[in-house]
Amino acid sequence: MNLYKRISYLMILAVFFTSCEDVIDIGLETAEPRLVIDANIAWVKGTDGSQQTIRLSTTTDYYASEVPPVSGAVILITNSAGEEFHFSETSEAGRYDCDHFVPVLGEDYRLAIVSNGQTYTATEKLMDTPAISAVEQENITFFGEEWIRLTLYYQDDPEVDNFYLSEANASFLTAPARTLISDELSQGNQARVDYLDENLEPGIEIVFSFKSISRRFFHYMTLLEEASSGGPFSTPPANIRGNIVNQTDGGEYALGYFRLSEVETVSYVVE
């Protein structure tokens, strides 16, 4: 639940009648490029989880249309038993694949990347994810318009603090619509995630992917969202740090995150 965000929406609505938005030219400086590690190990329920991908790139000019990939890195994930999973670069620059990964719930994994003479590491646990028990559809009226609202239900574990990331994918979306959830105020409940979009109409298929995430990754994603959505009222966080540590030179830190989750996917066709 992000009250700030909801209130910001209302405030934007309140100024809507007089305010205007326009795109302007602003010259920006560009900092030295920095390595970005996007290591997302996703074990989709019902698969063996052996196919995994890690992407390396760097920061670049804000207005650039592409980010520069990083090639020639050596990437290795090790489990607690010392078993190694090598990721090798594919024909797509900056993309490194592994076809023999073995996911185990609750297992600790260690990521090690050597790139440009620097060694980067991160350690995380593979999180298990509750099942989505139902998807419901409801029509609501909101500011004079009819909306279709989809709701996912799942059972929160009352014993621990949980954090979740829900993503909705649809053909009309260029990037998945994300919702970050903390169980702080819904501990142990049959909990829900709402999804609203003006483009929802009968016949459209939505694929939800839902996963548990760590507390730290929840905070990390919250910061990224704040930085990327840039509401008019928030102070964007500077240099958002993930869980990657440069073992060679702590000052030359890398951006990005190494995370592992079991993923629940469910597909729903709007009625």
Partner: protein
């Protein structure tokens, strides 16, 4: 500002001529003309009391050729009804008529001369001047229009004056203690032309109080504003040293201070939420007010609890003789105020209401009829004389904002305030005020879609006992004792319905008691030197019942050296404190000092120092305050903010107060300014200590205020050059702190701030007004690159607040039209036309960096709130 002003300024700077031969040939000159001639041609200077009328023609022509000063004075003594006496390089001027010379006194016989000054509607006039001609000294009325002084037995000429009112002069024969009531009439009401009277609007030269501005409601109403809604908080932005975050943002920043560091008082009751409609308008209905003072520095010991400024707003006191109403109809809201006697000459009431009605148009639309959005205010003030020396006052306020979107989303917020005050006059020298106050701010959010209801609030109960003690003309003491009890509800979450996925939750309520006592002396040491000194001793007790968590090493926030970021600490246990039990406490001694040294009647320098403590903090990490207004008390993990401010000023009146100049420099530091770790969630957070770091802030600057106080054209130019910074260094060498522990610009830093405000009375019917504002854009973050993560483009930001928005400026006009101004009627109306942002500057409220959903390219998007905005309103009174 026309040339005479600069000529005067030039003369002041360069000093006067050296020729001792004086010539003049003047047709029916005024005293001022004569003074100017003599002072320009010699190094003699006229000394006279403030009440001397210098702008009236003397009724005869004056010709002097190459005469020395003695000959000049002989001629003047002959021709004019004044005594001119040479005394060194000064020429003393005294009227010949009236009670001449010093009164016959035996020093042991002194009496108290006290009284009250009010306007035609029995409204007490605060800050009115009481001037005793024969003694060339006087006093100023207090909040209730009361004054008191001790004088030897004798006959006196007393002049009473107040900004915007005609002066009144009476002859007083003091042979016993006297208590008088003076009524002043509004300037120009009976008079055909604008009368220029001496000194009445000039800057205060002798009083040690500096860094203080007064605004009357009349001045506020003349200023052009958005949509023609007179607005106190927007008006004070025209003063030097005062800015805010921009259009449609609540709060204000004084001398580089944060919005939560302003103590806003409405009839002595602290206000926690100052705005309607997310900052478009302030909660102050101009019809219900009489005026305000803004203290930016040198704050007297009677005020405490906030470190940046005190905005003391006064509600109008009702007329105790006749019933009146006034009101206004505007585009956004309408106002109505009624006042009249409760019992003639015994007591009166004032009741005012204001409501917006834009939402009524929503009802006209079939699609939008389920939505509501409005605000209202109700102001009231009652007073009743219980006896000759006892008066009871009641002040009340209630205001709400409601925004309801189809029953799915609804928010309601606002203040409820009340105070009861018993004023007692023990003698003509000792007045006491005993007040009980209540203030509550609450914010409610109904989110039916998510099946929950949220509420948070801050409640304040206060008791104050204040004394004003007059010892002599030269010595006055104010002292008192205050106690405030706070109840903070950081949040109540109520799950609605069976299926709500939320758990009903009550976040830990917090309680605190803030007792304080103060003594404040106003002491005139000599004709030239005045001081105001005092001290406030404040305490703060954080009290149970509350469960306080303990942390490893006592650190609620820890630094993760691996990932180089701040995180919440690990609780190791908790301690339960019973109701009323002290959790921890603070106390501070807050000395205050103001000194003024007057070189002469028209020029002085002043200096001040004040230390202040602030025990409560607004939790906000947004750029502009939002209406949820979460306050939290100091306690085991949050220290009180401590301010030290010094200011130095130069004050000068030109041409008998027609023009005035106030220049001040200030420097202040605030210890324990709270800062937040990146991504801190402040709402519904029961362990707020896990996201707070204690930092510090500082600000310094120069303020210049040039005013034209009299004539058809009045107004001012205010310029502020300042810097506001803060830093949060690491607590250990391993920690970098926030932004590497370096000083960074506060988000309300404005390097340059220029405000021009003018009002021109064209004729009896038309008055024109204008405002111009120019400010350096506020500090913001611009990205220094981007990267891709999980399929989204993330702008990467470098250090905090290292870029700036484009400069913010706009020009506004207003015109006030009074139809048939001379006709004596009961009904008086006026039209106010306004044009805000005349050249339609698109001022950036923010610049956001985001990916264009259609093109996939990154772009910078400017959000601007107002283009050119016309406004019209109609005001009436009867």
């Amino acid at each position: 500002m026309k040339s005479p002003f600069f000529v005067t300024l030039f003369i002041f700077i360069v000093s006067k001529g050296f020729s001792q031969e004086i010539s003049m040939d003047l047709k029916n000159p005024t005293l001022r003309d004569i003074f100017q001639q003599v002072e320009n041609q010699s190094d003699y200077k006229f000394a006279h009391d403030e009440g001397l009328v210098r702008s009236k023609p003397i009724g005869t022509d004056l010709t002097i050729k190459n005469a020395d000063i003695v000959a000049v004075l002989t001629t003047l003594n002959d021709k004019l009804p004044y005594h001119f006496v040479l005394n060194g390089k000064n020429i003393a001027v005294r009227p010949k008529t009236g009670p001449a010379g010093k009164p016959q006194v035996s020093p042991s016989q002194t009496y108290t001369y006290s009284g009250v000054v009010h306007d035609a509607d029995s409204q007490p006039l605060m800050g009115a001047n009481i001037y005793i001609r024969e003694r060339q000294s006087g006093t100023v009325t207090d909040d209730d229009g009361a004054f008191s002084m001790t004088l030897p037995r004798g006959d006196y000429t007393v002049r009473t004056s107040y900004i915007g009112f005609s002066d009144r002069e009476v002859v007083l024969s003091l042979t016993r203690d006297i208590h008088e009531t003076y009524e002043l009439a509004i300037d120009g009401e009976e008079l055909e032309e604008v009368v220029v009277t001496t000194m009445k609007n000039g800057t205060e030269i002798k009083a040690p109080q500096m860094s203080m501005n007064r605004l009357s409601v009349a001045e506020m109403k003349r200023m052009p504003v958005v949509l023609g809604e007179p607005d106190l908080l927007k008006s004070i932005l025209q003063l030097p040293g005062v800015t805010n975050a921009g259009e449609a943002s609540s709060g204000f920043n004084v001398r580089g201070g944060a919005a939560d560091q302003n103590l806003i008082l409405l009839d002595g009751v602290p206000v926690f939420g100052d705005s309607h409609l997310f900052g478009f308008f302030s909660i102050f209905n101009s019809d219900a007010l009489s005026g305000l003072e803004l203290y930016k520095g040198g704050i007297p010991a009677g005020y405490g609890g906030r470190v940046s400024s005190v905005l003391d707003v006064h509600q109008k006191t009702g007329d105790d003789r006749n019933f009146h109403m006034n009101g206004g109809i505007g585009l956004i809201s309408s106002r109505l105020m009624a006042e009249g006697p409760l019992k003639k000459d015994r007591g009166s009431f004032m009741l005012a209401g204001r409501g917006s009605y834009a939402h009524l148009f929503l009802k006209l639309s079939e699609d939008l009829k389920d939505n509501a959005g409005y605000f209202y205010d109700i102001n009231s003030k009652l007073n009743y004389k219980l006896g000759a020396n006892k008066t009871l006052y009641f002040s009340g306020y209630q205001g709400r904002d409601v925004l309801d979107i189809g029953g799915e989303f609804a928010i309601r917020y606002g203040n409820t305030m009340a105070s009861m005050r018993l004023q007692q006059r023990f003698s003509d020298r000792l007045i006491s005020n005993l007040s009980a106050i209540y203030s509550m701010y609450s914010f409610t959010l109904d989110l039916n879609a998510a099946e929950f209801n949220w509420n948070n609030s801050v409640t304040n109960y206060g008791l104050k006992y204040d004394f004003n003690h007059y010892f002599s003309d030269n010595f006055k003491l104010n002292y008192g004792i205050h106690a405030v009890f706070y109840e903070f509800n950081p949040g109540t979450l109520i799950a609605k319905g069976e299926t709500s996925s939320f758990n009903s939750t009550q976040l830990d309520k917090k309680y605190a008691l803030e007792p304080s006592l103060y003594i404040d002396a106003e002491h005139q040491l000599s004709e030239k030197l005045s001081v105001r000194y005092g001290v406030r001793y404040s305490q703060f007790y954080r009290m149970g019942s509350e469960e306080i968590k303990q942390y490893e090493n006592g650190l609620a926030v820890v630094f993760n050296t691996d990932f180089q970021l701040y995180e919440g600490g690990m609780p190791t246990g908790s301690t339960h404190y019973r109701s009323g039990e002290t959790i921890n406490s603070f106390d501070n001694l807050e000395p205050r000092l103001g000194i003024s040294y007057a070189f002469n009647e028209d020029m002085s320098i002043k200096a001040s120092y004040n230390r202040m403590a602030q025990y409560i903090h607004l939790l906000a990490n947004t750029q502009a305050p939002i209406p949820i207004n979460l306050w939290t008390p100091s306690g085991p993990f949050i220290d009180p903010q401590l301010l030290d401010q010094v200011a130095l000023g130069y004050f000068k009146n030109f041409r008998g107060g027609d023009y005035s100049l106030e220049t001040e420099v200030f420097h202040k530091t605030v210890q324990n300014r709270i800062d937040y770790i990146d991504g801190a969630n402040l709402i519904a957070n029961n362990t707020i200590e896990q996201v707070i770091l204690n930092g510090e802030a500082r600000a310094y600057g120069l303020e210049v205020l040039l005013k034209k106080n009299t004539g058809r054209l009045t107004g001012w130019v205010a310029y502020t050059l300042s810097r506001a910074e803060q830093r949060t260094p690491g607590r250990t060498p391993d920690e970098p702190g926030i932004a590497n522990g370096d000083w960074y610009l506060s988000s309300y830093d404005k390097l340059h701030d220029i405000s021009v405000t003018g009002s021109y009375q064209l004729d009896d019917a038309w008055t024109l007004g204008t405002n111009f504002t120019f400010q350096t854009g506020r500090p913001v973050n611009f990205p220094n690159g981007q990267y891709e993560f999980d399929g989204i483009s993330i702008p990467n930001y470098g250090s905090r607040n290292d870029s700036r928005l484009p400069a913010y400026h706009h020009l506004d006009f207003s015109a006030t039209y009074i139809p048939k101004p001379k006709k004596q009627r009961n009904w008086q109306g006026e039209w106010v036309f306004s044009l805000y942002n005349v050249y339609s500057r698109k001022n950036a409220a923010s610049i956001n960096f985001r990916m264009n959903g259609d093109t996939g390219n990154n772009e910078a998007v400017r959000l601007s709130i107002f283009g050119i905005v016309p406004g019209i309103s109609y005001n009436f009174k009867f």
